[in-house]
């Protein structure tokens, strides 16, 4: 089973929930930090990194000697990454999504692909938990291909927990796509609700069942609960605002270390998710 932890709003507790889940599951779980622009599961889990692999995107390089200026490359590119203009062809590697269509369609074979570095994928162990994370190259803006590289490490025989980036755009969709369930972590404030609503709409389009975890559940207002009721979204768990949790977090400790009584709650969360996933899901009929 693949479970993604997403949120809409940033700073709601995705990483807290994701790391707690793998901590109670131990060697039955693997964690994949897909928030490649700012991966932070490593701060709480303190893994030993065993492998580091560079991830590249193939981008076009044009041999103008061979080019007949036919313009096919520019016609097929949806991102203005290769532009036949005047008596030349200009490539903009930073705009390229690496689809390869330009080089495939070039009748003169004037385009070959060169690697553009996107970042690295690191794997290792955090105690009994298998650990994978992506780290984007500083200055790089395109994260989905790197996130896909992280996800190639998903193994079928373990419960894969994916820590998603915040928001509701391409990196989030790339992360949650193919998951069996999405746990949405939010806070019960107008800000949490607003961004949760956007992310729920986006993920609904993928037909993946969702459930909600409310963090700092005793602050704010009841609007998130009302939202869950109206949308028939299961409220899976509430984590009250607690000084001990904040203190542990500030020291880089996982939640279940500072609050061991939460171990059972997170085990129950996994059981509840498996139940919902196992039966015809309510979430997909949203």
């Amino acid at each position: 089973m693949i479970v993604a932890v997403a949120s809409g709003k940033g700073g709601t507790g995705k990483t807290t929930v994701a790391t707690s889940l793998v901590s109670v599951l131990g060697d039955r779980a693997q964690i994949l930090d897909c928030d490649v622009e700012e991966p932070n599961c490593h701060i709480l889990l303190k893994p030993t990194i065993l492998t580091t692999d560079t991830v590249n995107l193939p981008v076009p390089s044009v041999d103008l000697e061979k080019c007949s200026l036919c313009g096919k490359c520019g016609e097929v590119c949806q991102f203005s990454a290769i532009v036949p203009i005047g008596k030349t062809v200009i490539a903009f590697p930073e705009l390229c999504h690496g689809c390869g269509a330009c080089s495939m369609l070039c009748p003169e074979e004037a385009i070959h692909e060169v690697p553009r570095n996107l970042g690295v994928v690191e794997t290792g162990m955090a105690g009994p938990v298998e650990f994978v994370q992506g780290r984007i190259r500083i200055g790089e803006a395109m994260s989905p291909p790197l996130i896909r590289a992280v996800k190639t490490h998903i193994r079928g025989d373990k419960l894969a927990i994916l820590d998603a980036p915040p928001g509701a755009s391409c990196p989030v969709i790339t992360t949650v796509k193919g998951s069996d369930f999405v746990i949405m972590v939010t806070e019960p404030t107008p800000f949490g609700l607003n961004d949760l609503g956007i992310a729920v709409e986006a993920i609904k389009g993928l037909g993946i069942p969702m459930g909600i975890v409310i963090n700092r559940s005793d602050i704010g207002d009841s609007s998130v609960k009302d939202f869950c009721d109206n949308r028939d979204l299961p409220l899976l768990m509430e984590i009250p605002h607690h000084r001990k949790i904040a203190e542990g977090y500030a020291q880089g400790k996982p939640l279940i270390e500072s609050m061991p009584e939460y171990s059972d709650k997170f085990r129950k969360l996994i059981d509840d998710v498996s139940m919902i996933f196992g039966k015809p899901s309510k979430g997909s009929s949203l």
Partner: protein
């Protein structure tokens, strides 16, 4: 000579839009400021990235010689240079006023972009 001017509207009395790639209209006129065409650039206004490159292609296809605009980023500038289109940046007021400044030789030609790439 064909002159392209980034504009908020479709006429020569329209006010210049300082953005090159994301201006709603690109007005094309001749030396005497007679309107040749007003290009609807709306599909580029909300482009994720690459708006300047597309706008440069659009005016290159129409064999424009000179672009008058406010700001021009690095990718757009590279594309315009490859197409042999000269750039007069930092322009404001109406389309007509800018073209009149060109006639009076008051518009310096840009030799480099004057805006950051859009992210």
């Amino acid at each position: 000579m064909k002159i392209a001017v980034t504009s908020t509207g479709k006429t020569i009395e329209s006010v210049i839009d300082p953005r090159f790639g994301r201006a709603p209209f690109i007005v094309i006129v001749d030396d005497d400021c007679n309107l040749i065409e007003a290009i609807d650039n709306s599909k580029n206004v909300n482009a994720f990235r690459g708006a300047g490159i597309q706008a440069a292609k659009t005016i290159a296809d129409r064999k424009v010689d000179l672009l008058l605009t406010g700001r021009c980023g690095p990718n757009a500038f590279t594309t315009l240079q490859a197409a042999g289109i000269k750039v007069g940046a930092e322009q404001s007021g109406t389309v007509r006023e800018a073209v009149e400044r060109v006639k009076r030789n008051e518009v310096p030609l840009a030799d480099k972009p004057n805006a950051e790439a859009h992210w």
